[in-house]
Amino acid sequence: MTFLDACLYSVTGLLVVFFALVLLMCIIKIMTAVGDFAESRKKAVPTAVGGIPAPETKGESFVIQQTGPWAPGAAGEVKLYDTDPRTAAMLMAIVADELKAPLNELRFLSIRESKED
């Protein structure tokens, strides 16, 4: 093989590697975009989790509508203002942990995001 042939093979090889990895990059980007789109749709249409009905959006607040029997240890409804159920659950867990009290012994009436003007 001549040096010129070797140069051609080298350039072709490097191009093939770039082509394969650029192709993968594009696929990952498409995969990410599709995933993000699905995620945003999921957030826009709340779904039921663990048997608890999905929260309905009423203006800026979530209201949990209880239709079935309460879970053991449940203490009624909690009203959420500008707070999603996931964040609310984390906040309640943090409060219970800080107070060193079991979560089912605490009563939360509402959780509201405080906003700075």
């Binding site: 093989m1 040096f3 070797a6 140069c7 093979y9 080298s10 350039v11 072709t12 090889g13 490097l14 093939v16 590697v17 770039f18 082509f19 394969a20 990895l21 650029v22 192709l23 993968l24 990059m25 696929i27 990952i28 980007k29 995969m31 990410t32 995933g35 995620e39």
Partner: protein
């Protein structure tokens, strides 16, 4: 027969007597001991180097008959079959069947896949470009092997793959293209991988400015479980369709990764990354070391391979860094070019070097996760390059 005759015959059949036949056997035994020292004391890739060195020691002990290169020559020439090798060969001949068939490197890749987190790569897909740029070392060494040292194309391709900084890939390709050179190429690849913390930093400091090294990168976005599960499946389909010759390596890498990510096959993932990987490492390292038979290893070509291997690593580092600099400019200084040098596979050593150099320039700099993206991209890139070289020079 007198006692003296018996003792005389015993002495003549002993290895000590046969050692005097050729001084190169003694050199190889000393070299094996040196490699054992590097693995045991200096901790240069001990998991592989100790096995390779011991295989080298065993094969060069006269009279041991554990490995027969002439049997493999006949096999390659089509004069005998594997059955013949199993009947006539020694222990290391039988173990070498796994190398020759490409079994061991592929199984090692399965373990590597089971241990690899492609999350940083998925979080920043541009890392793939850095992984591709770092394959410059492979083709630069290939060119030099042909242009300067006059190696044949298939041997030059095997030497070039050292620049991929990936032991299993180097062994896989060399066992198919240039089996006579397997030992020097594997030893060069693993030795330089161990020396990455010494090889890369001077080049990194030479090519990048202090301001570039100080750049702090934004935190990577989180990657969903679903993406991590889909990734190995998609990569396998697209890359193996593009380059079918790379399917054994890449397929096993991605299968191992799927075991890890799907969350349903923890036992298989555990086996792939521990028990299986360890067993195959023992077989692979000793049988590769066994190919270092004195009359094939002690040649000027071995020295050329050592030199070319180092060149390949340097060029690979330069390739990644140069593209890193370009991406740094294009992104308005958001990408630290140091992560480019991690494109030379060698997971996670090269990423650690990027982290250390970044932290040296700016102690509050944390580049490790950013560098892991190009690092794992380098594994895929070097496998693709190996697939290309096999497709072109594999006959």
């Amino acid at each position: 027969m007198s006692i003296l005759d018996t003792l005389g015959r015993l002495a003549q059949t002993s290895g000590f007597y046969m050692l005097l036949d050729d001084w190169r056997q003694i050199v190889m035994i000393l070299l094996a001991c040196l490699l054992l020292y590097l693995g045991l004391v200096k901790k240069f890739e001990p998991l592989l180097l100790i096995g390779i060195a011991f295989g080298m020691l065993l094969t060069n002990l006269p009279g041991s008959h554990m490995y027969h290169p002439e049997l493999w020559d006949s096999y390659i020439a089509g004069e005998i079959t594997l059955t013949h090798i199993i009947h006539e060969g020694g222990l290391l001949d039988i173990l070498y069947i796994g190398v020759k068939s490409g079994l061991y490197p592929s199984l090692i890749f399965m373990g590597v896949g089971a241990m690899t987190d492609f999350g940083p790569l998925l979080a920043n897909p541009k890392s793939l470009l850095l992984g591709a740029a770092a394959q410059l070392g492979i083709f630069a060494a290939f060119l030099m092997a042909i242009g300067i040292f006059g190696f044949k194309a298939n041997v030059a391709a095997s030497i070039g793959i050292i620049g991929g900084a990936d032991g299993p890939t180097a062994i896989w390709l060399t066992s198919k293209l240039a089996p006579d050179y397997l030992a020097p190429i594997a030893i060069a690849a693993y030795s330089y991988m161990a020396l990455i913390p010494l090889i890369q930093p001077p080049v990194m400091r030479l090519i990048t400015t202090k301001e570039e090294r100080e750049i702090k990168m934004e935190q990577l976005r989180p990657v969903s479980k679903k993406q991590k599960i889909l990734f190995p499946i998609i990569v396998t389909i697209f890359v193996c369709l593009l380059l079918p010759s790379v399917a054994p390596l890449l397929g096993c890498l991605m299968l191992g990764n799927l075991f890890k990510e799907c969350g349903l096959t923890d036992r298989l993932s555990d086996t792939a990354q521990n028990a299986l990987m360890n067993i195959v490492t023992i077989f692979l390292s000793t049988s590769v070391g066994a190919t270092a038979v004195y009359y094939r290893f002690l040649t000027p070509q071995t020295l050329f391979i050592i030199v070319l291997g180092l060149t390949a690593f340097e060029f690979a580092t330069v390739g990644g860094l140069l593209l890193g600099k370009l991406m740094c400019k294009l992104s308005g200084g958001k990408i630290n070019p140091l992560i480019g040098s991690a494109g030379v596979s060698a997971v996670p050593m090269a990423a650690r070097v990027s982290q250390l150099e970044g932290a040296r320039a700016n102690p509050s700099n944390f580049l490790l996760m950013h560098a892991m993206g190009p690092n794992v991209a380098g594994v895929i890139g070097s496998a693709v390059a190996a697939g290309f070289l096999l497709a072109v020079f594999g006959g």
